[in-house]
Protein backbone atom coordinates (compact mmCIF):
# COMPACT_ATOMS: atom_id res chain seq x y z
CA UNK A 1 0.00 0.00 0.00
CA UNK A 2 2.71 2.48 0.95
CA UNK A 3 4.70 1.44 -2.13
CA UNK A 4 1.77 2.34 -4.34
CA UNK A 5 1.36 5.67 -2.51
CA UNK A 6 5.08 6.40 -2.86
CA UNK A 7 4.91 5.61 -6.57
CA UNK A 8 1.87 7.86 -6.96
CA UNK A 9 3.78 10.65 -5.22
CA UNK A 10 6.74 10.05 -7.53
CA UNK A 11 4.50 10.25 -10.58
CA UNK A 12 2.98 13.51 -9.37
CA UNK A 13 6.39 14.97 -8.63
CA UNK A 14 7.78 13.85 -12.00
CA UNK A 15 4.83 15.39 -13.85
CA UNK A 16 5.31 18.66 -11.93
CA UNK A 17 9.04 18.75 -12.75
CA UNK A 18 8.32 18.22 -16.46
CA UNK A 19 5.61 20.89 -16.53
CA UNK A 20 7.76 23.50 -14.78
CA UNK A 21 10.80 22.67 -16.96
CA UNK A 22 8.73 22.94 -20.15
CA UNK A 23 7.24 26.24 -19.01
CA UNK A 24 10.69 27.58 -18.10
CA UNK A 25 12.04 26.74 -21.53
CA UNK A 26 9.09 27.97 -23.57
CA UNK A 27 7.94 31.12 -21.81
CA UNK A 28 8.45 34.47 -23.52
CA UNK A 29 10.10 36.67 -20.92
CA UNK A 30 13.60 35.78 -19.75
CA UNK A 31 12.99 37.07 -16.21
CA UNK A 32 9.97 34.76 -15.94
CA UNK A 33 12.14 31.90 -17.17
CA UNK A 34 14.72 32.67 -14.47
CA UNK A 35 12.02 32.56 -11.78
CA UNK A 36 10.74 29.30 -13.27
CA UNK A 37 14.27 27.93 -13.09
CA UNK A 38 14.42 28.63 -9.34
CA UNK A 39 11.10 26.82 -8.84
CA UNK A 40 12.39 23.96 -11.02
CA UNK A 41 15.49 23.72 -8.84
CA UNK A 42 13.39 23.44 -5.69
CA UNK A 43 11.27 20.67 -7.24
CA UNK A 44 14.50 18.90 -8.20
CA UNK A 45 15.49 19.06 -4.52
CA UNK A 46 12.39 16.98 -3.76
CA UNK A 47 13.35 14.55 -6.55
CA UNK A 48 16.82 14.17 -5.03
CA UNK A 49 15.24 13.38 -1.67
CA UNK A 50 13.10 10.69 -3.35
CA UNK A 51 16.33 9.29 -4.82
CA UNK A 52 17.73 8.93 -1.26
CA UNK A 53 20.48 11.54 -1.83
CA UNK A 54 20.08 14.18 0.93
CA UNK A 55 23.55 15.70 0.42
CA UNK A 56 22.84 16.27 -3.26
CA UNK A 57 19.39 17.65 -2.40
CA UNK A 58 20.99 20.23 -0.08
CA UNK A 59 23.57 21.17 -2.71
CA UNK A 60 20.92 21.47 -5.42
CA UNK A 61 18.76 23.71 -3.25
CA UNK A 62 21.66 25.89 -2.13
CA UNK A 63 23.87 26.14 -5.22
CA UNK A 64 21.91 24.72 -8.15
CA UNK A 65 18.71 26.61 -7.48
CA UNK A 66 19.60 29.37 -5.02
CA UNK A 67 22.89 30.89 -6.11
CA UNK A 68 22.48 30.10 -9.83
CA UNK A 69 18.94 31.50 -9.70
CA UNK A 70 20.19 34.75 -8.17
CA UNK A 71 22.79 35.05 -10.89
CA UNK A 72 20.34 34.37 -13.72
CA UNK A 73 17.63 36.63 -12.30
CA UNK A 74 20.06 39.53 -11.95
CA UNK A 75 21.32 39.01 -15.50
CA UNK A 76 17.76 38.75 -16.86
CA UNK A 77 16.86 42.05 -15.19
CA UNK A 78 19.89 43.78 -16.71
CA UNK A 79 19.28 42.30 -20.16
CA UNK A 80 15.63 43.34 -20.31
CA UNK A 81 16.24 45.96 -23.05
CA UNK A 82 17.38 43.25 -25.46
CA UNK A 83 14.18 41.18 -25.25
CA UNK A 84 12.52 42.65 -28.31
CA UNK A 85 15.56 42.23 -30.54
CA UNK A 86 15.97 38.63 -29.43
CA UNK A 87 12.35 37.86 -30.30
CA UNK A 88 13.00 38.83 -33.91
CA UNK A 89 15.75 36.25 -34.27
CA UNK A 90 13.62 33.19 -33.50
CA UNK A 91 14.08 30.35 -36.00
CA UNK A 92 11.09 29.40 -38.14
CA UNK A 93 8.49 26.78 -37.33
CA UNK A 94 9.97 24.16 -39.65
CA UNK A 95 13.41 24.49 -38.09
CA UNK A 96 11.97 24.24 -34.60
CA UNK A 97 10.02 21.12 -35.56
CA UNK A 98 13.17 19.42 -36.89
CA UNK A 99 15.12 20.36 -33.75
CA UNK A 100 12.28 19.06 -31.57
CA UNK A 101 12.35 15.74 -33.43
CA UNK A 102 16.12 15.44 -32.97
CA UNK A 103 15.93 16.26 -29.27
CA UNK A 104 13.07 13.80 -28.81
CA UNK A 105 15.19 11.07 -30.40
CA UNK A 106 18.11 11.93 -28.08
CA UNK A 107 15.74 11.71 -25.11
CA UNK A 108 14.33 8.42 -26.30
CA UNK A 109 17.80 6.99 -26.71
CA UNK A 110 18.82 8.00 -23.20
CA UNK A 111 15.54 6.75 -21.71
CA UNK A 112 15.95 3.42 -23.47
CA UNK A 113 19.49 3.07 -22.14
CA UNK A 114 18.35 3.83 -18.60
CA UNK A 115 15.54 1.31 -18.75
CA UNK A 116 17.99 -1.31 -20.01
CA UNK A 117 20.57 -0.80 -17.24
CA UNK A 118 21.83 -4.10 -15.78
CA UNK A 119 19.92 -5.53 -12.85
CA UNK A 120 21.41 -6.13 -10.18
CA UNK A 121 23.11 -2.79 -10.54
CA UNK A 122 26.88 -2.60 -10.10
CA UNK A 123 27.67 -0.49 -7.09
CA UNK A 124 30.54 0.74 -4.98
CA UNK A 125 28.41 1.11 -1.83
CA UNK A 126 29.86 -1.99 -0.20
CA UNK A 127 33.48 -0.93 -0.76
CA UNK A 128 32.72 2.57 0.44
CA UNK A 129 31.05 1.25 3.59
CA UNK A 130 34.00 -1.07 4.22
CA UNK A 131 36.58 1.71 3.87
CA UNK A 132 34.54 4.23 5.89
CA UNK A 133 35.87 3.47 9.41
CA UNK A 134 39.45 4.32 8.37
CA UNK A 135 38.48 7.88 7.55
CA UNK A 136 36.73 8.41 10.88
CA UNK A 137 33.69 9.82 9.09
CA UNK A 138 30.10 8.66 9.28
CA UNK A 139 28.81 10.20 6.06
CA UNK A 140 29.81 8.13 3.04
CA UNK A 141 29.38 11.00 0.57
CA UNK A 142 31.71 13.25 2.59
CA UNK A 143 34.20 10.40 2.74
CA UNK A 144 34.05 10.00 -1.05
CA UNK A 145 34.46 13.76 -1.54
CA UNK A 146 37.34 14.24 0.87
CA UNK A 147 39.09 10.90 1.03
CA UNK A 148 38.37 8.43 -1.75
CA UNK A 149 38.01 11.01 -4.55
CA UNK A 150 39.66 14.00 -2.93
CA UNK A 151 41.51 14.81 -6.16
CA UNK A 152 38.11 15.64 -7.70
CA UNK A 153 37.33 18.05 -4.88
CA UNK A 154 40.74 19.67 -5.21
CA UNK A 155 40.27 20.19 -8.93
CA UNK A 156 36.76 21.50 -8.32
CA UNK A 157 38.02 24.20 -5.96
CA UNK A 158 40.65 25.13 -8.54
CA UNK A 159 37.91 25.34 -11.20
CA UNK A 160 35.99 27.76 -8.98
CA UNK A 161 39.14 29.83 -8.63
CA UNK A 162 39.75 29.85 -12.38
CA UNK A 163 36.15 30.87 -13.06
CA UNK A 164 36.61 33.73 -10.60
CA UNK A 165 39.79 34.80 -12.38
CA UNK A 166 37.91 34.70 -15.68
CA UNK A 167 35.10 36.82 -14.29
CA UNK A 168 37.51 39.37 -12.78
CA UNK A 169 39.43 39.63 -16.04
CA UNK A 170 36.26 40.84 -17.76
CA UNK A 171 36.46 44.23 -16.03
CA UNK A 172 36.96 47.20 -18.32
CA UNK A 173 40.36 48.87 -17.96
CA UNK A 174 39.06 51.94 -16.18
CA UNK A 175 37.60 49.93 -13.25
CA UNK A 176 40.28 47.24 -13.12
CA UNK A 177 40.59 45.97 -9.58
CA UNK A 178 37.54 47.89 -8.41
CA UNK A 179 34.43 46.88 -6.51
CA UNK A 180 32.10 44.36 -8.13
CA UNK A 181 28.39 44.90 -8.52
CA UNK A 182 26.35 48.08 -8.48
CA UNK A 183 26.15 50.27 -5.42
CA UNK A 184 22.79 49.21 -4.04
CA UNK A 185 21.17 52.57 -3.59
CA UNK A 186 18.18 51.37 -5.58
CA UNK A 187 17.55 48.48 -3.20
CA UNK A 188 17.78 50.56 -0.04
CA UNK A 189 14.71 49.79 1.99
CA UNK A 190 14.01 49.25 5.66
CA UNK A 191 12.39 45.93 4.87
CA UNK A 192 15.51 44.56 3.22
CA UNK A 193 17.67 45.93 6.04
CA UNK A 194 15.40 44.24 8.58
CA UNK A 195 15.55 40.97 6.67
CA UNK A 196 19.33 41.13 6.41
CA UNK A 197 19.75 41.94 10.09
CA UNK A 198 17.49 39.08 11.15
CA UNK A 199 18.53 36.42 8.64
CA UNK A 200 22.28 36.92 8.47
CA UNK A 201 23.18 35.77 12.01
CA UNK A 202 20.73 32.90 11.73
CA UNK A 203 22.16 31.93 8.35
CA UNK A 204 25.69 31.91 9.73
CA UNK A 205 24.63 29.61 12.59
CA UNK A 206 22.84 27.27 10.18
CA UNK A 207 25.88 27.25 7.87
CA UNK A 208 28.23 26.36 10.72
CA UNK A 209 25.83 23.59 11.75
CA UNK A 210 25.85 22.16 8.22
CA UNK A 211 29.63 22.37 8.10
CA UNK A 212 30.07 20.56 11.37
CA UNK A 213 27.54 17.75 10.94
CA UNK A 214 28.71 17.07 7.40
CA UNK A 215 31.14 14.56 8.84
CA UNK A 216 28.44 12.20 10.08
CA UNK A 217 25.12 13.32 8.60
CA UNK A 218 24.00 14.95 5.33
CA UNK A 219 25.65 18.33 5.04
CA UNK A 220 29.15 19.53 4.42
CA UNK A 221 31.17 22.51 3.38
CA UNK A 222 29.64 23.14 -0.06
CA UNK A 223 26.18 23.65 1.34
CA UNK A 224 27.55 25.71 4.24
CA UNK A 225 29.61 27.85 1.86
CA UNK A 226 26.54 28.47 -0.32
CA UNK A 227 24.54 29.63 2.71
CA UNK A 228 27.36 31.92 3.83
CA UNK A 229 27.63 33.36 0.33
CA UNK A 230 23.85 33.91 0.25
CA UNK A 231 23.99 35.74 3.58
CA UNK A 232 26.76 37.99 2.29
CA UNK A 233 24.80 38.73 -0.88
CA UNK A 234 21.73 39.59 1.22
CA UNK A 235 23.69 41.92 3.49
CA UNK A 236 25.36 43.58 0.49
CA UNK A 237 22.05 44.07 -1.33
CA UNK A 238 20.59 45.68 1.79
CA UNK A 239 23.39 48.21 1.66
CA UNK A 240 24.75 47.26 5.08
CA UNK A 241 28.17 46.42 3.67
CA UNK A 242 29.83 47.21 0.37
CA UNK A 243 31.66 44.75 -1.87
CA UNK A 244 35.39 44.91 -1.27
CA UNK A 245 37.59 45.96 -4.21
CA UNK A 246 38.98 42.86 -5.85
CA UNK A 247 42.51 44.24 -5.71
CA UNK A 248 42.58 43.95 -1.93
CA UNK A 249 45.19 41.49 -0.79
CA UNK A 250 43.16 40.03 2.07
CA UNK A 251 40.33 39.14 -0.30
CA UNK A 252 42.69 37.37 -2.66
CA UNK A 253 44.33 35.54 0.25
CA UNK A 254 40.95 34.33 1.54
CA UNK A 255 39.96 33.03 -1.88
CA UNK A 256 43.27 31.27 -2.49
CA UNK A 257 43.87 29.93 1.03
CA UNK A 258 41.54 26.95 0.70
CA UNK A 259 43.02 25.34 -2.42
CA UNK A 260 46.55 26.12 -1.18
CA UNK A 261 45.95 24.33 2.13
CA UNK A 262 44.39 21.43 0.25
CA UNK A 263 47.44 21.19 -2.04
CA UNK A 264 49.81 21.44 0.90
CA UNK A 265 48.07 18.59 2.70
CA UNK A 266 48.20 16.65 -0.55
CA UNK A 267 51.96 17.06 -0.84
CA UNK A 268 52.27 16.24 2.86
CA UNK A 269 50.52 12.99 2.04
CA UNK A 270 52.92 12.17 -0.75
CA UNK A 271 55.81 12.75 1.67
CA UNK A 272 54.45 10.80 4.63
CA UNK A 273 51.94 8.28 3.30
CA UNK A 274 53.31 7.42 -0.11
CA UNK A 275 50.77 9.02 -2.47
CA UNK A 276 49.48 12.49 -3.28
CA UNK A 277 46.47 13.28 -1.05
CA UNK A 278 46.90 10.07 0.94
CA UNK A 279 46.35 10.50 4.67
CA UNK A 280 48.82 9.05 7.19
CA UNK A 281 47.49 6.34 9.53
CA UNK A 282 45.22 7.70 12.21
CA UNK A 283 45.48 11.31 10.98
CA UNK A 284 42.68 11.07 8.44
CA UNK A 285 39.95 12.75 10.47
CA UNK A 286 41.98 15.78 11.69
CA UNK A 287 43.40 16.37 8.21
CA UNK A 288 39.95 16.14 6.65
CA UNK A 289 38.58 18.62 9.19
CA UNK A 290 41.54 20.93 8.50
CA UNK A 291 40.87 20.82 4.75
CA UNK A 292 37.19 21.50 5.28
CA UNK A 293 37.85 24.39 7.66
CA UNK A 294 40.30 25.97 5.22
CA UNK A 295 37.99 25.46 2.26
CA UNK A 296 34.85 26.90 3.87
CA UNK A 297 35.81 30.62 3.76
CA UNK A 298 37.43 30.25 0.33
CA UNK A 299 34.36 28.57 -1.17
CA UNK A 300 31.98 31.07 0.42
CA UNK A 301 34.05 34.00 -0.87
CA UNK A 302 34.40 32.47 -4.34
CA UNK A 303 30.66 31.75 -4.64
CA UNK A 304 29.70 35.22 -3.42
CA UNK A 305 32.20 36.94 -5.73
CA UNK A 306 31.08 34.87 -8.72
CA UNK A 307 27.53 36.13 -8.16
CA UNK A 308 28.73 39.70 -7.61
CA UNK A 309 30.39 39.67 -11.01
CA UNK A 310 33.30 41.58 -12.51
CA UNK A 311 34.42 44.90 -11.00
CA UNK A 312 32.07 47.68 -12.01
CA UNK A 313 33.08 50.66 -9.89
CA UNK A 314 36.35 52.19 -8.88
CA UNK A 315 37.14 52.19 -5.18
Amino acid sequence: MTDALALAFDFGLAALVLIVATWTLLTRETAAAAVGFVAYGLLLTLVWMRLAAPDVALTEAAIGSGVTGTLLLGAAARLRPTEAAAEAEQPGKAMRFVVALLCASVSAGIAGTILMLPDPAPTLAAEAAAALPETGLGNAVTAVLLSFRSIDTLLETVVLLLALLGVWSLAPDRVWGGRPGPRDGAYQSEVLTFLAQILAPFGIVVAMHFFWIGADAPGGKFQAAAILAAMWILVQRAGLVDSPPVSRRWLRLVVVAGPVVFLAIGFLGSATAGAFLAYPEGYAKPLIVAIEAALLPSLAAALALLVAGPPARTE
Partner: protein, 113 residues
Protein backbone atom coordinates in the same frame (compact mmCIF):
# COMPACT_ATOMS: atom_id res chain seq x y z
CA UNK B 1 8.43 0.58 -13.02
CA UNK B 2 9.79 1.76 -9.70
CA UNK B 3 10.61 5.26 -8.60
CA UNK B 4 14.22 5.29 -9.79
CA UNK B 5 13.35 4.16 -13.33
CA UNK B 6 10.58 6.78 -13.50
CA UNK B 7 12.99 9.54 -12.57
CA UNK B 8 15.44 8.14 -15.12
CA UNK B 9 12.89 8.62 -17.88
CA UNK B 10 12.15 12.12 -16.56
CA UNK B 11 15.88 12.89 -16.60
CA UNK B 12 16.08 11.79 -20.25
CA UNK B 13 13.13 14.08 -21.05
CA UNK B 14 14.86 16.97 -19.27
CA UNK B 15 18.01 16.38 -21.32
CA UNK B 16 15.92 16.57 -24.51
CA UNK B 17 14.09 19.70 -23.31
CA UNK B 18 17.31 21.43 -22.34
CA UNK B 19 18.90 20.55 -25.67
CA UNK B 20 15.89 21.96 -27.52
CA UNK B 21 16.02 25.20 -25.56
CA UNK B 22 19.77 25.45 -26.09
CA UNK B 23 19.45 25.15 -29.88
CA UNK B 24 16.27 27.11 -30.50
CA UNK B 25 16.52 30.21 -28.31
CA UNK B 26 18.43 33.11 -29.88
CA UNK B 27 18.91 34.93 -26.55
CA UNK B 28 22.19 33.77 -24.94
CA UNK B 29 20.74 33.97 -21.42
CA UNK B 30 17.98 31.54 -22.41
CA UNK B 31 20.67 29.28 -23.84
CA UNK B 32 22.52 29.39 -20.53
CA UNK B 33 19.27 28.57 -18.72
CA UNK B 34 18.57 25.65 -21.03
CA UNK B 35 22.14 24.45 -20.56
CA UNK B 36 21.53 24.37 -16.82
CA UNK B 37 18.34 22.35 -17.31
CA UNK B 38 20.29 19.97 -19.57
CA UNK B 39 22.98 19.67 -16.92
CA UNK B 40 20.48 18.95 -14.17
CA UNK B 41 18.98 16.20 -16.33
CA UNK B 42 22.40 14.57 -16.66
CA UNK B 43 22.91 14.85 -12.90
CA UNK B 44 19.55 13.15 -12.36
CA UNK B 45 20.75 10.24 -14.51
CA UNK B 46 23.73 9.94 -12.16
CA UNK B 47 21.29 10.03 -9.26
CA UNK B 48 19.22 7.23 -10.75
CA UNK B 49 22.33 5.09 -11.19
CA UNK B 50 23.27 5.88 -7.58
CA UNK B 51 19.81 4.91 -6.34
CA UNK B 52 19.92 1.62 -8.16
CA UNK B 53 23.23 0.90 -6.46
CA UNK B 54 21.71 0.98 -2.97
CA UNK B 55 23.22 -1.47 -0.54
CA UNK B 56 25.44 -1.98 2.52
CA UNK B 57 23.04 -0.01 4.69
CA UNK B 58 23.01 3.07 2.44
CA UNK B 59 20.11 4.31 0.37
CA UNK B 60 22.30 4.92 -2.65
CA UNK B 61 25.77 4.46 -4.04
CA UNK B 62 27.78 7.38 -2.57
CA UNK B 63 30.28 7.71 -5.43
CA UNK B 64 27.89 9.01 -8.15
CA UNK B 65 26.28 11.27 -5.54
CA UNK B 66 29.64 12.84 -4.74
CA UNK B 67 30.31 13.27 -8.47
CA UNK B 68 26.98 15.08 -8.82
CA UNK B 69 27.84 17.46 -5.97
CA UNK B 70 31.10 18.28 -7.73
CA UNK B 71 29.20 18.67 -10.99
CA UNK B 72 26.67 21.10 -9.53
CA UNK B 73 29.43 23.37 -8.25
CA UNK B 74 31.34 23.24 -11.54
CA UNK B 75 28.15 23.93 -13.51
CA UNK B 76 27.57 26.98 -11.34
CA UNK B 77 31.06 28.33 -12.01
CA UNK B 78 30.63 27.77 -15.75
CA UNK B 79 27.26 29.57 -15.61
CA UNK B 80 28.79 32.47 -13.68
CA UNK B 81 31.58 32.89 -16.25
CA UNK B 82 29.11 32.62 -19.15
CA UNK B 83 26.80 35.22 -17.61
CA UNK B 84 29.74 37.58 -16.96
CA UNK B 85 30.83 37.23 -20.60
CA UNK B 86 27.28 37.89 -21.79
CA UNK B 87 26.90 40.99 -19.62
CA UNK B 88 30.23 42.32 -20.87
CA UNK B 89 29.07 41.73 -24.45
CA UNK B 90 25.91 43.64 -23.64
CA UNK B 91 27.86 46.54 -22.13
CA UNK B 92 30.14 46.75 -25.14
CA UNK B 93 27.70 46.36 -28.02
CA UNK B 94 24.35 47.20 -26.47
CA UNK B 95 22.92 43.92 -27.78
CA UNK B 96 22.83 40.42 -26.38
CA UNK B 97 23.09 38.65 -29.70
CA UNK B 98 25.49 35.95 -30.86
CA UNK B 99 25.05 36.77 -34.54
CA UNK B 100 28.43 37.86 -35.90
CA UNK B 101 27.03 40.28 -38.50
CA UNK B 102 25.31 42.26 -35.74
CA UNK B 103 28.41 42.76 -33.58
CA UNK B 104 30.65 43.35 -36.60
CA UNK B 105 28.34 46.12 -37.75
CA UNK B 106 28.66 47.80 -34.35
CA UNK B 107 32.46 47.55 -34.44
CA UNK B 108 32.69 49.04 -37.91
CA UNK B 109 30.37 51.87 -36.91
CA UNK B 110 33.11 53.09 -34.58
CA UNK B 111 32.14 51.51 -31.29
CA UNK B 112 35.12 50.32 -29.29
CA UNK B 113 35.87 49.41 -25.72
Amino acid sequence: MNGAALFGVIAAALVGLGLYGLIVHPQPLRKILSFNVLGSGVFLIFGVVARRGAGAGMGGDPVPQALVITGIVVAFSATALAVALLLRLFEETGRASLRSDVSNANDEAGGNS
